[in-house]
Amino acid sequence: GAGVSQSPSNKVTEKGKDVELRCDPISGHTALYWYRQSLGQGLEFLIYFQGNSAPDKSGLPSDRFSAERTGGSVSTLTIQRTQQEDSAVYLCASSLGGGLNQPQHFGDGTRLSIL
């Protein structure tokens, strides 16, 4: 498809397990972002990738969270030793370039539920 693709669409797991979330950005988009939306809240920035530059990890809430972007395309967000407060919708977005004035296009998200 032409849009941002995320998988899985839903994930239910037990507290303490590790999870991996995947994002396929729009082809040709060099910038990739991860956000999360907790219940009743706005979107919260997690991490940003742009080309070969060092990622901006300033939004990651703890060292249990990490992300990679391989080959400048697909990205995975990994949460280790999940906690119940990690339950949220995790959204990936991509844009033509990093920086300003480039609208970010979002995938439909992964709904993560920690039991």
């Binding site: 941002v4 910038a31 972002y33 956000y35 009743g40 809240q41 706005g42 979107l43 919260e44 920035f45 940003y48 742009q50 901006d56 939004g59 959204l91 977005a93 844009s95 990093g98 920086g99 300003l100 004035n101 480039q102 609208p103 970010q104 296009h105 979002f106 995938g107 439909d108 998200g109």
Partner: protein, 114 residues
Amino acid sequence: DQQVKQNSPSLSVQEGRISILNCDYTNSMFDYFLWYKKYPAEGPTFLISISSIKDKNEDGRFTVFLNKSAKHLSLHIVPSQPGDSAVYFCAASAFSSNTGKLIFGQGTTLQVKP
């Protein structure tokens, strides 16, 4: 510290009337603002944006107004249609961030009644 605030959680308007959604921000470094629309179980969809060098941007039925002195922006939808019923998020970014990362408000749920 909520840098972008949408103080109205919900808004209900009649089809054909104007919908006005409001957003306030506190960070004077913000210089690019966007509105997104979100349907349930879908990702946010970009609607319209405005740079701080402008005070108005229009795209069809959607107009965004920016008042920098008041640190306030609004989205006008005229005429409103039932298909506009969704959650609307405003977002802001700052050139100084050098990344374009967006700071979002909490969202306003718009209901347009037929």
